[in-house]
Symmetry: C2
Subunit: 704 residues, 2 copies
């Protein structure tokens, strides 16, 4: 379905509007504004034309937020000789959409033939600027191929959009739209439109401006309620292209700055080029799709990055969909942040600062559950308050707090940036206090249990002593101990308590098999009939979670992720035992699973498995492998897992104990070379691997 | 606060409207219609004037019901010389409310003195007929004491009421009302009013009629939108009482039947007398309040009884409040049904038939969770579909299914009525199939575990092998085995499987202490600081359930209930061990706890504890011991637990293996005699205990 170029992806054929896979794939974003590729012209409904802003949340009920669907900045309609291309009474030929990965330009072109046989070539181009986060632009080109007719274009800013809040429970579907915009006021005049609107409770004020220009014809006011617009009327002459541009600014200056579509695109392209210089991974591979697919993953990762703003983070679907209400999860820290850590340390620093900035709310979360210290929320929108109110996940999937501490420490370890060390010491200590109050001391056995928790594998029930959570909590406690040793003031008895929990906390381990056990219930779960599955659809579509939790089956990587995060804690045979036991029982019904399995397989020498899983992760959205890229948006964590599989798995990049980078290349069959740049300890390196060997260079100097 | 007569309770003093304790206490019902004692005249808001109908549910969102607040049938307003008694500009003296427990008549009287010093005696009487379930009546008497003035009375049927849906989560408060009535149409003329309305989705049609009569003055139409009414104008003369009556029919005949307030009350009183003949418990005790309090409990139990309708059951708050959306719980089977089983077997039969009638939905519930057989819902409204959608309770508190089977078997055992035996065999077998699919076989240890369940004690977390649930599930399997042995057709392999689960299912047991353990996690929970509590309020008001579940603390009776349900399974020392271990760790933050502890204490010879717990249960609503009788209504299960404590605990009524009743009196100190009637095996008995001995007589013949 998707055609892969070296630096672009494209697709042919016109489809009626729907929450389509392609509308997600061609979503554009600069990390501040994101917009799905759904057009009014195609009949997209008010809740399908989606534009989101980083941190653009508002409340839909007390304490519960949704990400507000902003006015449609790419709003346009076109009619030629009273026929509306894309609607009934005619047909498209040669319909083709392309996303240029190098500069973020989306273009679509086709010939519209109306019922009278009039053929008109239509080309739409749009981008969101990577140079100035407030800017975006749209260009429409019309060419009458066999006729002369009047064309009418309407270009505006449309506040007539709606939210369709998505149910947290993946098995439920909501059909009830919500009006999240209010008090929309527009004006239009002299080639300019302006629109202001408030979000539901007034938390957000949205201010959009646009300048509309045209190569020919006349322009007048075409506003309707909620949609200030310019109406362009032009006489199309055969084989002469008429061009109209809309230059848009969102929450920016009073007037869109000077320039035109081409000059703005050029500026944005330069900004993209700088980003690509650090982020690109060049692969010489037999499979020609692989390079573009990999670049697509990197492209979307860069589109996710909050635009120099430490008060927002990355949603589980970036800005490509309102799934999960736009909330931030552990996906950011463990799946997405590593990419930025090595390719854009300033962006990683902002992600870490986001967690520092929300430490006060994390304290409130702990207090609300009658615990000490700071507890990071499973789902996070405004500030750091818990947005997930379910019992099994919101209260029980508590590893997020240790994940945040782990990722913060990775920032220190990889960047060597000590400017955040003091603040992070506070984070380590306050999260350690949370854990110290969350473990339950069992006086009979003199052990600490972590009761009623759920690990990363969400098909497990609420159990106890989930190994991933316990071991990462110990790591969190260890970070606090080190902070205290390095001078961070704690009360005298705290370090002893933390050490005692590290020593006496419980993880299941079968010494004979050298096997870590996922949780206290895992071995007594019922065997799952893997052969009996009738479809590839996630099993939660056919089995209720209540039933699922009693089967010995994993949704996603759990211990397999842990051995990658903390490899030094496991012997090679323990790692192999974990792989052999858990990999065959994992259904990968979470998008977080494939990339991690690819990475683990590469590290453990399972070459075929590594490549198979890598392909699943890499093409997860491109080929709609989960079946929900259209209805849920781009799976941001999978993008980051693909990067980790490539760089940590196939290239084997590691900083070791010394902070000096090294590679352990494990290139898949069919790959002849791999090259990428990365940062470590404040230095920029280039890594290169071929079949003959590998090198890491700093400023052209080979360092290893 | 409450004054206790032998056959009545009363209260003095006027209070402004609020969801008051007294509005619940004085609630009247015949089991078909129930109405809180909240009056428009006092300023009660549209969601405070509550009238409910048995089974009167409708949907507030897809799949979720609420119990519909019906039009206010006791609607009235009165003004005297343009002053409105109960409102500002005057004051009441001698305000006194009384509920006659013998005939269900509620009366209130007072003298209203307006700002000009005009004194008017006002008396309101109302009842809901126990003779004809469709009928109710209201009477207003006005006497000018020191003046002659014009009085205006408005008596109507008011559809201007609202629902205030109560959040399932006890810690959340809802302030958002919902309009559950629509298409209200009224008419008024010639002393009659009529009102029809539909519930929100049209599931219910409500048809109310009333006849309004008066001893003096004129009558005209006084209708407003939503409220057909008669307006009575009368000249009050000094010391002459004017009387107005409203004779109401709900979903009954076209016109209210002949008669007046007095004659209708007489009929209703006769029906009450018949009920009392079977239900009363006479106690000669030093505490004079005890007899009335006990009768109040019995009175409310009788008010709960569905009026000869096997398609509805008893809500956790009867018809006294919309708390829990009016839903039916295990409260019915284990707490309320025993009272009817022994005092009104036909009513018990209807309750059992309700579960039989909802077996098809119970099958659907099991199927929805990918299980076999039939699963009764934790919360039940329309049909038998699960109304509880929380993870920790709705999915996990599964003992309800075994409770239903247990209670059905109790019906057979106590009544000896075999006419339902075949249908109940089906219920036993289908619920056993549910259990057989719900247990998880552990092939390593060759045992069956009941994973991820919550027992009756709701402060425990979702754990495994809750002893109450496992042992009652075994009992359910045993009932199915007996049904199969008695000829109910099952597949050949089923009995063996059921036997295997009975044998190999797991319950924690400490042989040294002869102690059953509540669940797999109980012994490793953290000790709770019982001394550190600052208030008597339920601990869930200050500790989140997530924190609570890690403390070794019980909300309510769990194993202590089990030893009463299945006493033959436990030795005396095992029972004593259970009491000694669990009773001190129970907070009784559930209204289901006190009565059960009273019963257990009596059986185990703890005389002081028995009486202390009995008092808590008996006065639970009367003295507002839980603090929520006003905001949540009458706790129906506690009423039934009080009865069980008295009859099974203090009197020691038992049928033994032979079906012949016997007593083991354990009268509390200060009780000199106790007498009650009961049915067993189709015969009616009278039991009498004094300090000198005890007897059971059938038709005047002493049988033991």
């Amino acid at each position: 379905m998707i055609e892969y170029g070296n630096w672009h992806i494209s697709a042919s054929g016109y489809r009626a509007h729907a929450p389509q896979h392609l509308e997600s794939l061609f979503c554009q974003s600069n990390g501040y504004i994101g917009s799905r590729a759904a057009f009014l012209q195609d009949g997209a409904l008010p809740y399908e034309r989606c534009t989101f802003m980083a941190g653009g949340f508002d409340y839909i009920s007390p304490g519960i937020t949704d990400i507000v669907n902003l006015p449609d900045l790419f709003h346009f309609t076109a009619t030629v000789a009273e026929s509306t291309p894309g609607q009934s009474g005619g047909h498209y030929t040669g319909f083709h959409q392309t996303l240029n990965l190098k500069n973020g330009l989306y273009t679509r072109g086709a010939v519209w033939t109306d019922e009278q046989g009039r053929e008109t070539a239509i080309k739409i181009s749009r981008f969101i600027s990577m140079a100035d986060k407030h800017l975006a632009a749209l260009c429409i080109e019309l060419t009458a191929l066999n006729h002369e007719s009047e064309a009418v274009l309407l270009l505006g800013l449309d506040a007539g959009v709606l939210n369709l809040p998505v149910h947290d429970d993946q098995t439920m579907v909501n059909h009830q739209t919500v009006q999240m915009l209010k008090d929309a006021g527009g004006k239009s005049g002299q080639g300019l439109c302006g629109l202001t609107a408030q979000s539901r409770t007034g938390r957000l004020t949205i201010d959009m401006r646009c300048r509309v220009t045209q190569s020919d014809g006349t322009q007048e006011d075409g506003s309707t309620a909620d949609c200030p617009a310019r109406k362009l009327t032009v006489r199309l002459k055969q084989n002469q292209t008429v061009r109209a541009e809309k230059l848009i600014s969102v929450n920016g200056p009073d007037h869109p700055p000077p320039g035109d579509f081409t000059s703005w695109l050029e500026e944005s392209g330069k900004a993209w080029a700088l980003r690509w210089e650090n982020a690109d991974i060049e692969v010489e591979a037999e499979d020609p799709q692989l390079q573009a697919a990999l670049r697509y993953n990197l492209f979307q990762l860069m589109q996710c990055r909050p635009f120099d703003d430490p008060n927002v983070s990355v949603g589980a679907r970036g800005l490509t969909h309102a799934r999960y209400k736009g909330c931030y999860f552990w996906d950011t820290e463990l799946f997405i942040q590593p990419f930025f850590l090595y390719t854009n340390p300033a962006a990683a620093r902002d992600l870490v600062r986001f967690r520092l900035n929300t430490l006060p709310d994390a304290r409130e979360n702990a207090k609300a559950l009658n615990l000490e210290g700071a507890r990071y929320p499973w789902m996070c929108a405004v500030g750091g308050k818990e947005q997930c109110h379910t019992w099994d996940i919101g209260r029980s999937e508590i590893h997020i707090t240790a994940d945040v501490a782990y990722a913060a420490n990775e920032y220190l370890r990889v960047t060597g940036d000590n400017s955040l060390r003091d603040e992070l010491s506070q984070l380590f200590v306050e999260t350690a206090r949370y854990w110290a109050s969350r473990f339950s001391y069992d006086g009979i056995k003199d052990v600490y249990n972590l009761l009623f928790v759920k690990g990363p594998d969400e098909y497990c029930g609420v159990s106890s002593n989930n190994a991933y959570t316990v071991i990462l909590a110990r790591h969190n406690l260890q970070l606090a101990l080190e902070a205290a040793e390095n001078g961070y003031a704690v009360s005298p008895e705290e370090p002893a308590k933390w050490r005692e929990i590290i020593e006496k906390s419980q993880v299941g381990y079968d010494a004979e098999r050298e096997l870590y056990i996922q949780d206290d219930d895992f071995l007594r779960l019922e065997p799952f009939d893997f052969g009996g599955r009738e479809t590839d659809a996630p099993v939660y579509r056919t089995l209720d979670y209540d039933r699922l939790q009693r089967f010995r089956v994993l949704k996603q990587a759990d211990l397999i992720l842990l051995i990658l995060l903390l490899p030094e804690l496991f012997t090679e045979s323990q790692k192999q035992a974990i792989w052999s036991f858990y990999e065959p029982t994992t259904l990968h019904d979470s998008s977080l699973s494939f990339g991690i399995h690819a990475w683990a397989a590469a590290v453990l020498g399972k070459r075929d498995k590594a490549m198979a899983y890598f392909n699943k992760s890499l093409f997860l959205d491109l080929e709609n492998i989960m079946g929900n890229t259209g209805t849920e948006g781009i799976h941001a964590a999978a993008l980051g897992a693909s990067w980790q599989a490539a760089v940590f798995g196939f290239a084997g990049l590691s900083l070791g104990g010394t902070g000096v980078p090294s590679l352990s290349p494990r290139l898949p069959d069919g790959w002849s070379a791999m090259r990428f740049a990365f940062y470590a300890n404040g230095k920029r390196y280039r890594a290169e691997m071929t079949r003959d060997g590998w090198s890491i260079r700093e400023k052209g100097e080979e360092i290893l």
